[in-house]
Symmetry: C2
Subunit: 314 residues, 2 copies
Amino acid sequence: MDEFALIERFFRRTPRRPQTRLGIGDDCALLRLPADRVLAVTMDTLVAGVHFFPDVDPEALGHKVLAVNLSDLAAVGAEPVWGFLALTLPRVDTDWLERFAGGLFELAGRYRVDLAGGDTTRGPLTVTLQASGWVPERQALKRSGARPGDGIYLSGWLGDAGLGLKMLQGEVTWRDPDTVARLLRPEPRVELGLALRGLAHACIDVSDGLAADLHHLLNASGVGGTIEWEALPLSPAMRRYLTEGGDWRLPLQAGEDYELCFTMPPWREADLERRLPSGGVAWHRIGTIEKQDGLRITKGEKVTALPAVGYRHF
Amino acid sequence: MDEFALIERFFRRTPRRPQTRLGIGDDCALLRLPADRVLAVTMDTLVAGVHFFPDVDPEALGHKVLAVNLSDLAAVGAEPVWGFLALTLPRVDTDWLERFAGGLFELAGRYRVDLAGGDTTRGPLTVTLQASGWVPERQALKRSGARPGDGIYLSGWLGDAGLGLKMLQGEVTWRDPDTVARLLRPEPRVELGLALRGLAHACIDVSDGLAADLHHLLNASGVGGTIEWEALPLSPAMRRYLTEGGDWRLPLQAGEDYELCFTMPPWREADLERRLPSGGVAWHRIGTIEKQDGLRITKGEKVTALPAVGYRHF
């Protein structure tokens, strides 16, 4: 099977968006942007043996490579619209491709994301996806808008993806399927990102760990903050891990949660509740933005500095 | 050096375009598109050991990964504006990165392309670049517009990149620096693509070889065509190769020329000459579009079918 037959069989679908003027099949895709929107663009790479186990379920990989990019779009409050896929494969394995495309298009379909182009090449298994969407420019969320007095908020459970990794690696001897699923099949918080438009002052997605990513947000905003250990949303599995003597830094430093961390004035909480459908993702206030530089954590009476330690890329 | 320091040192530059509302440094880039333009988007991957020698001059690699994408933009008549880079590296080598970024930004600067984001990861050396630009929708060139009676045209020299590869591999025992440079540092035909707006009926960039890519254009347009061997633009080096008994199919089937192949009514030639600056790339009429399906080549009196054989990706 040559590259063109492969694209035709697995990746070419009829575009869902009228703004996709030309999709897969020419030298470029041609995309139209509504006049009152700016384009939000992000790109993430997953490498076999670094970001995923080479024998990973390809359906989960197809889901994840789109999910981690939709998470970045959610962090700026953008509606996802397009994807471009650069897929490098050691060989053509039709069963693998079928399942990979299945996972990718299941998530893409849920948000009406058109796969509008890309490249398939031979080489060590690597998947790069570039996702784009749109947002009214003045409503785009940035890392840089946090203000003293804002609450610090977090969606979902904290650190479960990192705990799931420990389960897969055997460092934790028991397994919880929900926890492992949060590593392998993260859910991008698209609806939350859209609901935060005009409410949140700053937002970031937690991919390198809360401590590292919250530091990025604080630095970009020129502020500091304190989070409360007792307020952190820890799953039953994480509580068991910690009760059994696990490292208390894990939830703060483990990457790949792909939850949103955002700041807003606490009186806005009721507005956010009204905007979000019930049954959607939970969110919790975990701390407060302050004038004083740096990130601190309180545990009972004790306040300690929380360094910017997280996932290291090199 | 962590990922953030690496990006800051080598890849973050002040955006040149006012439409780059937010560049490197947040979860997404935010880009504004002029109201009368559509966005043209392409993405290409180069893998070490497949698309380039692992010990390639990183400066040439930085140039090439942008050039091959700008070539796709040229093929649709788009003005290049933005790039996103996914760079996978086995380790951080600052000298290598310095040179790679130098090659990339030299070409980017020439066309005022803003590098607006991307991802750097650890893994086998692989470079994916996604480039985008804009074009008035009705002037966008496609593969599908060729009409019987159109001339078939080609820019530059045919097959030199393939001959350059044979020189590097030692299959050709003599070397010509210009020929090797056409493989390692292809020049995207941006000005030609812009000049073809409203003149060309169809256009494609020759990346997999003339025979394969012209077949794509003919099939997309629902027409056929005949090219003339005597009209093919062969460089002095290619003529020497052929005179010394080289394979006559090389210029027709070798990939990576990144020249433009386009069709237009021959009476438009004078218009195109007027639009292009002197000293720019040469272009030649190499054949004619016909109603009859398929691609043929005439050599003296003899007409033979030219199959769609070219670079195979798998």
